[in-house]
């Protein structure tokens, strides 16, 4: 249900789903890239710091040699404590000293389980071939000399498939003091000249960077960490985004579903209420029907039994009357059944409303009752200008007929029976009325007259279904019907409302 909705494969949903995943994907990629750079640079900076520390430490040693050790040596040589021929690289060559120190340093690192840090002092014209600058280093030396503002160089390099951080700085500027050993060959100490044939390491100039010191530290581990970190953070963010988006979508879906459900529940409740109403009506109907049909049946069987008994006893005086009663009761049942069918038919078969002139409908109803009216000498007064109504023509004519018939039937014993038909303003709006000056209805019974088979006068003709029918029809048209009377002998008025062309 809900999950299939979210992961639906309908066309629209598919596009929506792609769109849905695309956004967080794109965002994730951007974030991942940014993160990777951020983390890498952080880690590289960290590595750089480590290297720089080592380098600066070595620089410290270099400076010690340059500023303390050598000056002390030269001073004591001047004093004649040391021979002028004396040269030993272990004391005089700072590159030798630092290189050797670094070897000891790496050995100590190895003891601690740390990887070695590669060190190289490179120059273009080295004394020791081990210090020869390669292409990159030569370029760096030139760069550092040309641009004094550049103080360092770092790069991630791959050597033998492994990644390293390569960090280089220009070596100390050549000073006058340096030229003792690095100036003209002839001026260098004899011991040095003997040790190093050739021009390597000579003819340097003062004020020039003659070498670069570089360190190379493995950063394989850091790179891996960077990748893992980036990946996990990215995945985390991606998941969050997807969850967020799905959450929103879920919420929308849930809300939509809830709305749908709420509406459906409301509809169902309405239908339930309607059904309950219909059920109650049916129950009332069934009860009434069974009772009112049972009654004539009792009469029939009762008098049939009485007739049988009388015939057996040879009594004939009341046979005719009793048989009549039986017939009448049977007729009554027939009428009841017909009326019931009529009533139930109304419930199912009401034609779509059409515009009719109420005036016309009244005239047609009166025409159908012409005989009755003439016979009873009733005066009929119809208001002119009755409006157009939106009704089922035949049904309303039946209603009018019924009401007029009743008015005639219950006119009572009087010299001038009159029936008025018209429209008037009532508390339920504009209503039509059929008014008579007949026997009237007690106020208590103004509602009960509309009950099924209720008759105030048991002896009168008819089954008592007429007004129930009238109410049914009027209610089906969305109107109301009610009676008013000032009591016995004061006439009755029946009012009913109908949808006019104005109110529709």
């Amino acid at each position: 249900m809900l999950t299939t909705e979210v992961f639906s494969t309908r066309q629209k949903a598919l596009k929506g789903r792609l769109g849905l995943l695309l956004i967080p994907l794109v965002l994730a990629i951007i974030v991942a890239v940014a993160l990777y750079f951020a983390i890498s640079s952080y880690l590289l900076n960290d590595a750089t710091d480590k290297i720089r520390n080592v380098l600066l430490s070595q620089r410290g040693l270099h400076l010690y040699i340059q500023k303390v050790m050598h000056p002390t040596f030269y001073r004591d040589r001047e004093r004649g404590m040391i021979s002028k021929e004396y040269y030993a690289p272990e004391i005089f060559s700072s590159s030798f000293i630092v290189r050797t120190m670094h070897d000891f340093y790496n050995a100590e690192r190895k003891k601690d389980g740390l990887p070695p840090i590669y060190y190289k002092m490179a120059s273009i014209n080295p004394r020791n071939p081990v210090n020869r600058a390669d292409q990159m280093e030569a370029a760096l030396i030139r760069l550092f000399n040309e641009n004094r503002d550049i103080r360092e160089f770092k790069q991630v390099v791959t050597v033998n498939g492994k990644k390293y951080l390569y960090y280089a700085r220009p070596f100390l500027e050549t000073t006058q003091a340096c030229l003792r050993c690095h100036g003209k060959r002839e001026e260098a100490p004899i011991g040095l000249q003997a040790l190093y044939p050739g021009q390597g390491g000579f003819n340097e100039k003062a004020g020039v960077f003659r070498a670069v010191e570089s360190l190379r530290m493995p950063i394989e581990g850091e790179m891996t960490s960077a990748i893992i970190l980036t990946a996990s953070i990215t995945v985390g963010i991606l998941t969050l985004l997807i969850l967020l988006l799905f959450n929103t979508r879920l919420r929308t879906l849930v809300r939509a579903q809830t709305e749908d459900l709420t509406q459906e529940v409301a509809e169902r409740k309405a239908r339930e209420t309607e059904l309950e109403g219909k059920n109650a009506e049916l129950e009332r109907f069934t009860y009434t029907v069974s009772h009112d049909l049972k009654s004539p049946l009792i009469t029939i069987k009762g008098f049939a039994g009485s007739v049988l008994k009388d015939v057996k006893n040879g009594r004939h005086d009341r046979l005719e009357r009793d048989l009549q009663r039986i017939t009448e009761a049977a007729d009554k049942m027939g009428m009841l059944l017909n009326d019931l069918l009529e009533l139930s038919r109304i419930g199912r078969m009401i034609n779509p409303p059409v515009s009719c002139s109420m005036q016309e409908l009244v005239q047609e109803a009166l025409a159908a009752l012409e005989e009755s009216i003439k016979r009873t000498d009733v005066t009929i007064k119809v208001q002119p200008d009755l409006p157009i109504v939106l009704v089922d023509k035949m049904r309303i004519i039946e209603v009018l007929q019924n009401l007029i018939e009743n008015a005639i039937k219950y006119r009572g014993d009087q010299p001038d029976p009159t029936i008025e038909i018209g429209k008037t303003e009532t508390e339920h709006g504009i209503a039509f009325y059929v008014r008579d000056n007949g026997i009237g209805i007690e106020r208590d019974y103004l509602e009960t007259v509309f009950g099924l088979f209720n008759k105030l006068d048991a002896q009168s003709d008819g089954t008592g279904i007429g007004l129930a029918l009238v109410r049914r029809v009027i209610e089906f048209h969305g109107g109301q019907v009610w009676a008013d009377s000032n009591g016995s002998g004061h006439g009755t008025t029946f009012y009913f409302t109908l949808p006019t062309s104005k109110t529709v």
Binding site: A304, G305, A458
Partner: protein, 146 residues
């Protein structure tokens, strides 16, 4: 049977059913007079000796009321309520004699202190013996408070 004039008030709106009841009660020869009224209003008028029934001698207090439930004007149940809540009338036994076998009606009738509830069966023989039994029971066998 003591020979004093016994009377039954039959409250029945259906003239045919009333005729059947009267015939049966007559045949049984247990009661002296059946007074028949056709609606609830008349029944109460009779019992209270009002209106057209003001003559107490002509319309004495009945020994038994046979009451149909569905009556025009004042409903049978209303009449029952009225009788059983009136200090004057509540001692009169009221037997509901009606076509309805609905449980609802039965319950309501007893709730309003009907003395008995009998449904009109459709069979004549049964009906007549029912009325005879009623007559015998209420008038001959049953102890009356007056």
């Amino acid at each position: 049977m003591t020979g004093e004039p016994l009377s039954i008030l039959l409250v029945e709106d259906n003239p045919d059913h009333a005729e059947l009841a009267i015939r049966n009660l007559d045949d049984a020869k247990i009661v002296n007079k059946v007074h028949h009224v056709q609606d609830g209003q008349e029944a109460l008028d009779f019992l209270y000796n009002r209106g057209q029934y003001a003559d107490c001698a002509a319309y004495p207090r009945p020994h038994l009321v046979l009451l149909d439930l569905r009556l025009p004007k004042v409903d049978g149940l209303e009449v029952l309520k009225e009788i059983k809540s009136s200090d004057l009338l509540k001692t009169i036994p009221v037997v509901i004699l009606t076509t309805s076998s609905a449980e609802r009606d039965l319950a309501m009738a007893y709730e309003h202190h009907a003395n008995s509830y009998v449904t009109k069966p459709v069979d004549f023989e049964t009906f007549s013996s029912l009325l005879q039994d009623l007559g015998y029971y209420w008038l001959a066998w049953n102890k009356r408070p007056w």
